[in-house]
């Protein structure tokens, strides 16, 4: 039997002897990281100022992987589309103008449907594996390229040039019309497969996604990732993340186990997290499910930035689609039913 102090002395000496960081290299690395983070902060501030001044284009050309989308001076809420949970190809309007009838025939089951950054086009994956942009005014469509995977689960960058999807190696970035070779962003824990891809930041500089452990953001210029919210209890479901239109915050669902007899359900709480401060706010309880035969809740930030639309699941106080103010105080019922995906059109002036 060894004396504790002897053990401690020996273990400490060994720890100190074998911990030999390369100080010079690490110091150079520290300076690079500091510069990178400072630049990122400055870019964020400049972007906010540019948006306020309507001069977004002035920022084009900085080191982002994709260019920021042109940001108008004022954005309002257009059509809010939703996919009924039991009809994986159908899309209905919860608010605004109904989509063309042809959409539900054309779109692939569970495929991506999203509005372009300026709201003039609806982009989706069709049944033949093509990515289609449908002009909302003229009804004309054009082929943008091929889906990056069989399920046509992608997210088109705000500038319309790059697809983000989930591949074997992690997050894959594929340039439309490029060589077809994706750039891989390795992540420690791959997001669970499900009806949606990672979410682009409005300025195209970052991607947000969920893993069972929580919500993550990856900087595309550096590849640095960070967890911005740790789930109360991990859950192996794909869950939606939505960016605030100004890129300052994310809306997401926190998950908590709800033990039942013989199985476990998950409680979903819609929340927001401010990315600079890490401050979180609870929007509302969005229901619970085992989510085997039913869809988990989904959400999208309103284009005007004043609230978050949430498609709740069973057990929520307000079933259907609701619009919640950012302080969680006001809840407006927008539609009834069970929906598995939402897409909200920005109307620009």
């Amino acid at each position: 039997v060894t004396d504790l102090d002897t053990l401690a002395r020996s273990a400490t000496r060994e720890l100190l002897d074998r911990t030999t960081p390369d100080v010079q290299t690490r110091y150079a690395e520290l300076q690079r990281t500091r510069t990178r983070r400072t630049t990122a902060r400055l870019v964020a501030v400049a972007a906010a100022v540019a948006i306020a001044a309507g001069g977004w284009r002035a920022l084009a050309g900085h080191q982002n992987v994709v260019d920021p989308a042109p940001a108008p001076t004022k954005v309002s809420n257009g059509t809010l589309l939703a996919r009924p949970a039991s009809r994986p190809r159908m899309w209905v309007a919860v608010e605004g103008e109904p989509p063309p009838e042809s959409l539900s025939q054309a779109v692939a089951p569970y495929a991506t449907v999203q509005f372009s950054a300026d709201g003039t086009e609806l982009v989706y994956g069709d049944r033949t594996g093509k990515i289609i942009a449908l002009d909302m005014r003229s009804g004309e469509h054009r082929v943008l390229g091929d889906c990056p995977d069989q399920g046509c689960l992608f997210s088109l960058s705000p500038d319309g040039t790059t697809l983000a999807s989930l591949g074997g190696g992690g997050i894959e970035l594929t340039e439309l019309g490029g060589s077809g070779e994706p750039r891989i962003i390795e992540v420690s824990q791959k997001p669970p497969q499900g009806p949606g891809p990672p979410a682009w930041a409005p300025d195209g500089s970052q991607l947000a996604f969920t893993t069972p452990d929580g919500v993550h953001v990856v900087d595309l210029a550096t590849g640095d990732g960070r967890m911005v919210h740790a789930a109360t209890d991990p859950v192996g479901l794909f869950l939606t993340v939505s960016w605030a239109p100004d890129g300052s915050a994310l809306a997401f669902f926190d998950t908590q186990d709800r033990p039942r007899k013989g199985y476990t359900e998950t409680d979903f709480t819609a929340m927001t997290v401010h990315l600079d401060s890490g401050t979180t706010h609870t929007l509302m309880y969005a229901g619970h499910c085992a989510c085997l035969g039913s869809a988990p809740p989904t959400l999208t930030w309103s284009p005007d930035g004043t609230g978050v639309a949430i498609a709740t699941t069973k057990g929520a106080a307000r079933p259907g689609v609701v619009l919640v103010s950012l302080d969680g105080a006001e809840v407006e019922q927008l539609g009834y039913g069970s929906f598995s995906a939402l897409a909200w059109q920005p109307l620009t002036e």
Binding site: V1, T2, D3, L4, D5, L7, A8, R9, S10, A11, T12, R13, E14, L15, L16, R18, T19, T20, P21, D22, V23, R26, Y27, E29, L30, T33, R34, R37, I185, E186, V187, S188, D213, G214, H216, V218, T222, G223, D224, G225, R226, M227, A230
Partner: protein, 180 residues
């Protein structure tokens, strides 16, 4: 003796005043090696350098105010100790480590089985006890300095160390001086 005995390992002698007057680079060069050891005592080995580096980044960003502190070294040690035991922050460091696309470092040198067992036992202690114990061992700190580092009283630190000592002895099947 109820608290942990400091190991007979020489801690680096440095002047807090010198650190305050000196550049951040000087502070970094002096402080980093043992800061990484502190992180390694409290967090998994593959995260230790990232955790220590993150603490240094915070100090670098706030160097103007940190350098004015009486003991900038204690400040960065506290930051590092907090980062190392925070599950959330550690996960962030972990994700950052594995999503980094370039600049991968060689894996840290492994400890012997007994060394690894000892530090694993330290890491399994309640957070405050683990922090107090790691500071005591790695820096050979007296109670007053540990208390100043952790922002608590000497009495509380003494209690943490005493409990840590009993748990460590029990976990490792070791004896303590008071038992002999």
């Amino acid at each position: 003796m109820s608290e942990l005995s400091p190991p007979e390992v020489a801690a680096p002698q440095r002047s807090a005043t010198a650190a305050r007057r000196g550049s951040f680079e000087e502070f970094y060069t002096t402080e980093l090696p043992r800061l990484v050891a502190l992180a390694r005592g409290l967090a998994p080995a593959h995260l230790a350098e990232d955790v220590a580096q993150e603490a240094m980044l915070v100090a670098y960003r706030r160097w103007r105010e940190v350098s004015e502190l009486e003991r900038p070294d204690l400040w960065v040690r506290r930051t590092c100790a907090n980062l190392a035991v925070s599950q959330f922050r550690r996960r962030m460091a972990e994700l950052r480590a594995v999503t980094r696309l370039s600049g991968r470092r060689p894996p840290p040198a492994e400890l012997s089985e007994s060394g690894e067992q000892f530090w694993a036992a330290v890491r399994s202690l309640p957070q405050r006890q683990a922090q107090a114990a790691a500071l005591r061992y790695v820096y050979d700190m007296p109670l007053a300095e540990i208390a100043a580092t952790l922002g608590t009283s000497e009495g509380t630190v003494k209690q943490h160390l005493s409990r840590a000592r009993h748990t460590l002895a029990s976990t490792l099947g070791a004896t303590t001086q008071e038992e002999q």
